[in-house]
Symmetry: C2
Subunit: 327 residues, 2 copies
């Protein structure tokens, strides 16, 4: 069994090797943004989840490494394109790819990453690789659908809690779930267990995205890596805003809508005002309750698995770390 | 055996059915640009090539239809993203997706199409589908590389003929070759024949792209579907410009470079002036010679195949049509 930290080291080394290889090939301008985005790092959550899941059933983690890299490359592809669409300038405390290079580079290098992720997936010699490719393709389409809902919601005033939760399931949770199920499939786990790990990933992902929303408003930029308040500025229909609109007094609602409709405003004042209303309405606590709800559901799924608790322990460790964000 | 026209009808109907299905699913804003780009039509060359190749070895073309659709969807994905990068407003005589909708839609719906093409490929129940997915992924990366070289060349004054030919091989020829080889693989043709069809596709694709360059300057907008002279305006290092710079007198070269360097200019006058120099240097005839060279090579490969001539006849018919662009 590998610990979370050991697997993080394994994946970091593997990605270093891969970027080393990509640096040798042409066209340089296509692969430089790929390397830039992979080298910035991040938590490499998806590959670690895949390896943790694989490692429950098999110790030969080298067999799952290409798939682990594939998921990280795919995740970074989505960041390149999302950051253009969201006009985000900062990611992991560094300029985003379309700022560091240009928009065309972020589009085209992102595309190359989408296909590189398939190339890496195909390197896995498991008999289950076609099932993984099927799951991965379905997941990739869902991630696009989630991003579209997210953008659609920016132009709408009312988004229901249900719609929001479905959006984050697609945008975030399915990829974590796909990572876990892919690891299980590649290690030849039975399909029921693989599906339970998928469900675990969905609930973990829901909690994780809700926490991301919370940190976007209440975190600090240094540990969060993105500009704080971005969601408020962009009128993102996060859980926080949805709950605030739901619970607001008439006066608070008018104030919120005034700021949502404003075309010219100081970002700083908008963030401060909206955050102030969130505080009056205990939105932070409401969001925390929802995070706890999904985390609890995830924990129950893990506990019910008919697998030796020692085997799933590292996965539980990572889940705890994820929701406290202290790694 | 199916004729070219019959296969065109088959693929047109199949794409109609597919867009019909896509219209029923959410988010509407994600799938509307997908449907728009697929419904505009175009020649559907890649799926027809796949079906023609498949049909050499098998009559059950319904087994290859999902892969044929996949290649058309992939090709349209590249158009959505290339048109953003090239700032092209018109495609097939209609507004491009980023003009009709917006840039974010063209990015995200393009991404969805990339993954939809895998989803469709995976529908083929052939035992060779993993080989097709491997070939397709390799090809997709090459297409991105070709597009990057093409963009890189815009910022360079000197591009060698060799570099240009490698760029169009990647950008255009490999996808036609992949279509042909995929058809052969799905029909369980032997690998040598599949590879010969791949080589045929490369040469056909080279001729086809050279002709596209020729038509971009010397065609007419109605039949070409794009604005004439776009390559000249964008300083695309086409075969025409490379040969012109190679053969120009000192005065002609100075004039060409003056127009390449100009930041503010009338597109109309730039096109007229450069075209005039091309005419003085017989560039049209030089390009035609190169087209004929590749077409000849393609024809030789087909003739050498140890396959009944009746079987390859429809492929020869389509190749002839392609290079005359009269269908």
């Amino acid at each position: 069994m590998y610990s979370v930290e050991e697997l993080q080291n394994v994946i970091n080394t593997e990605i270093e090797n891969r970027t080393g290889e990509l640096k040798k090939i042409n066209p340089v301008n296509l692969y430089a943004p790929v390397n830039y985005s992979l080298e910035i790092g991040g938590k490499r959550l998806r590959p670690v989840l895949l390896l943790l899941s694989f490692n429950i059933f098999s110790d030969k983690i080298e067999n799952a490494l290409p798939a682990a890299v594939a998921l990280e490359v795919f995740h970074n592809f989505t960041l390149l394109h999302d950051d253009i669409m969201d006009k985000a300038d900062v990611r992991r405390n560094k300029p985003t790819v379309h700022k560091k290079f240009d928009e065309n580079s972020a589009i085209l290098s992102g595309d190359a990453m989408a296909f590189l992720s398939y190339k890496f997936l195909l390197e896995c010699r498991s008999e289950k690789r076609i099932d993984v490719i099927e799951l991965f393709s379905k997941t990739a389409i869902e991630v696009c659908e989630g991003q579209q809902f997210d953008m659609d919601f920016e132009d709408r005033l009312t988004v229901s809690e249900e719609e929001y939760l479905e959006m984050i399931r697609l945008k975030t949770a399915v990829l974590l779930a796909c990572s876990l199920k892919s690891g299980a499939l590649l290690a030849n786990a039975n399909i029921e267990t693989a599906n339970q790990l998928y469900d675990f990933g969905i609930n973990l992902g829901m909690a994780f995205q809700l926490q991301d929303d919370l940190l976007d408003t209440f975190g600090n930029q240094e540990t969060f890596g993105k500009r704080i308040g971005g969601d408020i500025v962009a009128n993102k229909k996060t859980y926080l805003l949805i709950k605030a609109l739901e619970n607001a007094s008439a006066a608070q609602k008018t104030e919120l809508i005034k700021w949502i409709d404003k075309k010219d405003f100081s970002a700083e004042i908008k963030i401060k005002t909206v955050k102030n209303i969130y505080n009056q309405l205990n939105i932070k606590e409401l969001a925390q309750l929802k995070i706890d709800y999904y985390f609890q559901k995830a924990s129950e799924i893990i506990e019910k698995l008919t697998i030796d608790k020692n085997k799933t322990e590292p996965l539980v460790v990572l889940s705890n770390q994820m929701l406290k964000r202290n790694f």
